[in-house]
C-alpha cells in the first residue's frame, strides 16, 4: 500500500515538474543563441554543460563555438560572418577593447546576479564609465609555485613558507634546498609568462598598487615620465629575477624549456619552485603527487614588515560578455541568462571549479576545488594577501607581452643587460599611438 502511494506521488511530482517546464516553455518564444569560449581543451565538457542549461531553459537553444589556437582571430571571424556569438568568455582586456559591442550588464532586466560577485566587476569597467561589460569568470593567483615534499624534506614538516618574506631569506631558502641536492627553481621562458606575468603584473602593480596606481604608471610610461633604471621597484624586481635566473635549472639553455616540461619537473619533485600560476590545472591534474604543490610569495625587498612581501599576485582574467551588435534583444536576454548561469549556477561553478580548477570570486560557491594551487589562491584571497593586477591585464596595450616578453627572454639568456631592457620597455611605450 505504502509502495503504491509512493509510486503515485512520485509520478505526480514528475508530472507536475514536467508541466511546470512545459508551462514555462510555453511562456517564451523559442530562441537560438550561441556561446564562444576561450577555455580551450574542454570542448566536450562545455557541450555537456550547455546541454544542462538547455534542459533547464528548454526554449533556449545554444550553439557552441569552440576557440582554436588563435582565439581572437576566430572570434572576429564570427563577427565578419555576421554570426557574432551571443555570449563570449573572453579575456577581460578584449571585453574592454570591444566594449562598444557588448551589453552594459547593469542594464540587464534583472542585474541582481551581481550581488553574488565578491570582486572583479570593476575590471570590466572602462575609466570614467559606470557600465559593467562582463561577469567575472574566475580569479587566478600566481607567484612562486613550490613543491611541498621538497620543502618538508629540507626544512621539516612544520616549516612555514610565509617566513620567507625577504630577499635574503629567499636566497637562504634556495641555498638550503640546493645544499640538500635539489635544484631550487626553474624559470619558464615563454614570452607571455615573462612579459605578462613576471614583468607586467609585478611592474605595474608596484607596491600595493591599486587601480589608479597601475593606470598612472602606464600613463607615465607613455608620456616618457617614468625612468625605469631609476625606479626602485623595477630594480628590485630585476634583482630578484637575477636570483631566479642564476639558479634556473635550465641555466645552460634557458629558452629551450616548455611549460609542460617545467611543470613536470616541479610536480615530480625534480625542482623546488617555479614562477607561475594556478591556471595550470589541466596540465598538471594527471601528474602524481599534485597535492604536494602550493603557492608562496616572492619577496622583492629585505623589509619583513612590507606587506608586499607576504602577498601573491592575483587577477580576474576572463569574463562573460553579451553581444548587442549582431544579436536581437530576445537573444540578448537569453544571453544574459546563459552568462549568469555559466558564472553563478551550481552547474556552471562545478565546470569552472572542478574541471578547470579555477577560484571563483562569488559568495555562493559550493563546488570543492581539487586544484591544490587554486585552493592556495583561495586561502590568500580569504586572508586579503593578494595584490591584484587586473587593471594592468585589462588596460595595458594588448601587445605588451608580445613585444616586451622577448626583451625579458633576451635578458634571461644573457643577451641583454638591465639598462638595455629598461630602454627597450620605455621605447615600446614611447612608440605607442
Amino acid at each position: 500500500m505504502f509502495k503504491k502511494l509512493f509510486a503515485v506521488l512520485t509520478a505526480l511530482a514528475m508530472l507536475l515538474s514536467l508541466t511546470a517546464v512545459f508551462a514555462e516553455s510555453a511562456e517564451h518564444e523559442p530562441v537560438t543563441i550561441s556561446y564562444y569560449s576561450t577555455q580551450a581543451g574542454v570542448d566536450d565538457e562545455t557541450v555537456a554543460t550547455l546541454a544542462k542549461f538547455m534542459e533547464q531553459y528548454p526554449w533556449i537553444t545554444v550553439n557552441y563555438y569552440p576557440c582554436g589556437d588563435d582565439q581572437l582571430a576566430a572570434w572576429l571571424a564570427l563577427y565578419s560572418a555576421k554570426t557574432a556569438p551571443t555570449v563570449s568568455l573572453l579575456d577581460c582586456g578584449q571585453i574592454l577593447n570591444y566594449s562598444d559591442y557588448m551589453m552594459d550588464l547593469t542594464k540587464a532586466e534583472d542585474p541582481s546576479f551581481f550581488d553574488h560577485v565578491l570582486s572583479g566587476t570593476e575590471f570590466f569597467q572602462k575609466e570614467g564609465d559606470e557600465a559593467i561589460y562582463g561577469i567575472p569568470g574566475s580569479y587566478q593567483g600566481f607567484s612562486l609555485l613550490y613543491n611541498k615534499t621538497i620543502v618538508k624534506a629540507v626544512f621539516g614538516e612544520d616549516f612555514d613558507v610565509d617566513t620567507v618574506n625577504t630577499v635574503d631569506k629567499l636566497v637562504e631558502f634556495f641555498d638550503k634546498i640546493e645544499a640538500a641536492g635539489y635544484p631550487s627553481t626553474v624559470v619558464f621562458s615563454a614570452d607571455w609568462a615573462l612579459g605578462a606575468h613576471y614583468l607586467g603584473c609585478q611592474l605595474f602593480s608596484e607596491w600595493l598598487g591599486d587601480k589608479e596606481t597601475q593606470r598612472k604608471i602606464m600613463a607615465d610610461l607613455k608620456e616618457g615620465n617614468y625612468n625605469l633604471m631609476e625606479n626602485e621597484h623595477f630594480n628590485n624586481l630585476m634583482n630578484v629575477f637575477d636570483i631566479l635566473k642564476e639558479r634556473n635549472i635550465n641555466k645552460a639553455d634557458p629558452l629551450a624549456d616548455t611549460q609542460e616540461g617545467d611543470l613536470e619537473l616541479l610536480s615530480h619533485g625534480k625542482v623546488a619552485t617555479m614562477f607561475q600560476g594556478d591556471w595550470n590545472w589541466l596540465a598538471i591534474r594527471n601528474f602524481e603527487n599534485i597535492d604536494e604543490l602550493g603557492i608562496m610569495q616572492l619577496p622583492l625587498t629585505n623589509d619583513a614588515d612590507d606587506p608586499r612581501n607576504s602577498m601573491i599576485l592575483g587577477s580576474c582574467p576572463k569574463g562573460y560578455a553579451v553581444d548587442i551588435y549582431q544579436n536581437t534583444p530576445e537573444q540578448q536576454a537569453a544571453g544574459v541568462l546563459l552568462a549568469q548561469w555559466l558564472a553563478l549556477s551550481p552547474e556552471g561553478e562545478d565546470f569552472m571549479v572542478r574541471l578547470i580548477g579555477s577560484t571563483l570570486p562569488f559568495d555562493n560557491v559550493t563546488a570543492v576545488n581539487e586544484n591544490p594551487l587554486a585552493v592556495s589562491t583561495q586561502e590568500y584571497l580569504n586572508e586579503g594577501r593578494i595584490l591584484d593586477c587586473s587593471t594592468y591585464l585589462c588596460e595595458a596595450p594588448t601587445d605588451f607581452w608580445l613585444v616586451c616578453g622577448p626583451f625579458m627572454q633576451a635578458y634571461l639568456a644573457g643577451q641583454s643587460d638591465r639598462a638595455t631592457l629598461a630602454q627597450e620597455i620605455q621605447d615600446y611605450f614611447a612608440d605607442l599611438d
Partner: protein, 293 residues
C-alpha cells in the same frame, strides 16, 4: 550581328568561364581590394564603419624599424630556403629519374613531408630540435648539440630554413622529376656518343633542358618563402627574442595581438608589392635563358 554559331560559342565560353571567374573574384580579387582599402583606415576588426586616415598606416610602417628588420630576416630566410630547397629538389629529381631500384617508393616517401601540414611539422621538429638532438648531444658529449638550436638566434633561423627546405624540396622534386622525364632520350644518348661524361651530360644537356622547371620552382619557392607563416609560428613562434619573426607572422601579430588591422594591412600590401616585383623579375630573367626546341 552575332550569328547563332557565334552566340553558341559565347554561351559555351561563359558556361566554363563564369564559375571560375566567380570563385576568383570572390576568393581573391575582392578580399585583395578590401585589404587595400583597410590599409587606409583605422579599423577595430568588427565595425562596419571605417575611419579613413589616408597614408598614415604606410607612413607608420615605413618609420618602424622592426618592420624593416623583419623584412630583412625574411629576405635572409628566403635566400636560404630558395637555394637549399631547389638544390635538394634538383638532386632528388635527378636521382629519382635515374635507374634507381624502388624509385617510385622513394618518390612517395620523400613527398610525404609536403603532405604533412606546416603547423604539425613545425611542432614535430620543435620537439626534435629541443629534445631529440640535445639528448644525443648530451649523451655523446657534443657541445654544439647539447643545447637547442632553437634557443640561439642564428641556430633558430638555420632550423627554420632546414625544416622549410625539407618540406618544400619534396614539392619541387615532383616538378624537377617531370622536367627530367621530358628531356629527350636521344639528346642524352647523342651527348654520350660524343663522349660527354655524366657531369657533362647533366650540365650541358639536362640542366638547359629543364630551365622551364627551374623557372617555376624558383618562382614557387620565392613566393612560398616570403609568405611563410605556419612553420614560423609552430617551430619558433618568432623566437628566441623575436629573432625569427618573419614578415607574415609579424603581420598576423600586428593584426590579432596589437589589434592594428590597418597597419597590418599596410604591411601586407607592401609585402605584396615587394614579392610581386621580385617574382616578375625572376620569371623574366630565368625565362630568357630557357632553351626553345
Amino acid at each position: 550581328m552575332v550569328t547563332r554559331r557565334g552566340w553558341d560559342t559565347w554561351k559555351l565560353i561563359l558556361l566554363f568561364f563564369c564559375p571560375a571567374l566567380f570563385v576568383w573574384l570572390t576568393a581573391m580579387v575582392i578580399p585583395f581590394l578590401y585589404g587595400i582599402f583597410i590599409s587606409f583606415t583605422k579599423w577595430d576588426g568588427i565595425a562596419t564603419e571605417y575611419t579613413l586616415i589616408g597614408f598614415a598606416n604606410y607612413v607608420k610602417v615605413f618609420n618602424t624599424s622592426k618592420f624593416w628588420l623583419s623584412l630583412q630576416r625574411t629576405g635572409i630566410y628566403t635566400i636560404g630556403t630558395v637555394v637549399l630547397s631547389n638544390v635538394m629538389g634538383l638532386i632528388l629529381g635527378l636521382l629519382l629519374t635515374s635507374s634507381l631500384k624502388g624509385r617510385n617508393a622513394f618518390r612517395t616517401a620523400i613527398y610525404v613531408p609536403n603532405v604533412v601540414g606546416g603547423v604539425a611539422m613545425g611542432y614535430i621538429w620543435q620537439y626534435i630540435f629541443s629534445y631529440g638532438f640535445t639528448r644525443i648531444g648530451q649523451s655523446m658529449g657534443i657541445p654544439g648539440l647539447s643545447t637547442s638550436m632553437l634557443s640561439d638566434p642564428t641556430g633558430a633561423m638555420v632550423a627554420l630554413v632546414l625544416v622549410s627546405s625539407w618540406q618544400l624540396s619534396a614539392y619541387l622534386m615532383i616538378i624537377y622529376v617531370a622536367g627530367f622525364t621530358n628531356v629527350p632520350a636521344e639528346l642524352v644518348e647523342a651527348a654520350r656518343v660524343d663522349g660527354a661524361t655524366s657531369w657533362g651530360v647533366f650540365r650541358n644537356v639536362r640542366l638547359p633542358m629543364i630551365r622551364p622547371s627551374i623557372t617555376i620552382c624558383l618562382f614557387l619557392a620565392i613566393v612560398r618563402s616570403f609568405m611563410v607563416f605556419d612553420v614560423n609560428l609552430s617551430l619558433t613562434d618568432g623566437g628566441p627574442f623575436n629573432s625569427t619573426e618573419l614578415i607574415a607572422l609579424r603581420i598576423y601579430n600586428t593584426a590579432f595581438v596589437s589589434l592594428k588591422f590597418g597597419n597590418a594591412q599596410a604591411q601586407a600590401v607592401i609585402l605584396f608589392i615587394i614579392v610581386a616585383i621580385i617574382s616578375v623579375l625572376q620569371a623574366y630573367f630565368t625565362q630568357k635563358r630557357e632553351v626553345q626546341m
